[in-house]
């Protein structure tokens, strides 16, 4: 693991990352690849150029890192309890991110694609609702902390 805030669960192959550096999609697909998996679903969230009618110029993410990684682990555990999956990856960007950059990735590989789709969907929904991560939006004329709708 190149990243000091990355954790890996060896028995059930899951990867949890919080990184100041840009998210590397190559690494994401490399981790999820599994010779027994028929399909892999990767959700990627990117920094949008507009939000709530404002022209956004950049985002900044802050996390309660220890708890966010623990929550990533709980999300992966819940996924494994509910679906038959091969590998799970959760990765969130920290610090300042530019428009178009990837800020979050939730990826799941599974023998059957239906399970990969459902598990990835569950993963990003729960991450957005539960992970202790905060977003500051920079727009023309100011900045503000922005929360997800419940």
């Amino acid at each position: 693991m190149k990243n000091e805030t990355a954790k890996q669960d060896i028995e059930t192959p899951c990867w949890y990352y919080l990184s100041q550096e840009p998210i590397a999609m190559e690494t994401v697909h490399h981790h999820l690849a599994d010779p027994a998996a028929g399909g892999e679903v990767v959700f990627t969230g990117t920094v949008r150029n507009h939000h709530a009618g404002r022209h956004v110029t950049a985002l900044e993410f802050e996390a309660y890192g220890e708890m966010a990684l623990a929550e990533f682990g709980r999300i992966a555990a819940a996924i494994q309890a509910r679906w038959s999956v091969r590998k799970v990856l959760l990765w969130h960007r920290l610090g300042r991110a530019k428009i178009g950059e990837t800020c979050v990735v939730v990826g799941v590989s599974a023998a059957h694609r239906a399970e990969a789709f459902e598990a990835a969907r569950y993963g990003i929904d729960r991450l957005k609702a539960e992970a202790p991560i905060w977003k500051r939006e920079y727009f023309e004329g100011g900045d503000a902390w922005v929360t997800n709708h419940p």
């Binding site: 969230g45 708890m67 202790p132 902390w145 997800n148």
Partner: protein, 85 residues
Amino acid sequence: MTEKMSLQVRLFSLLREQVGRDSIEVVLPLGASVADLTRALRVTEPRLTPFLEVSRIAVNLVFALREQKLSPEDDVALIPPVGGG
């Protein structure tokens, strides 16, 4: 007199900026609950009051229920509404 414990409550994002520090000390009776902590925060740091209603308390990296008892070794954090993803 009741025995007391002192807890450092972590603060993040908006709350950290409001208070100007990344944690705040709260003194509580031994055996106090999460609900007691929330009430004490209101008194200790009035600038947090408008945010307490929408924030959650995490104890040892897990969101805690109101009735949960606290001990002096607990890692406690006040978690305002999240915005990840």
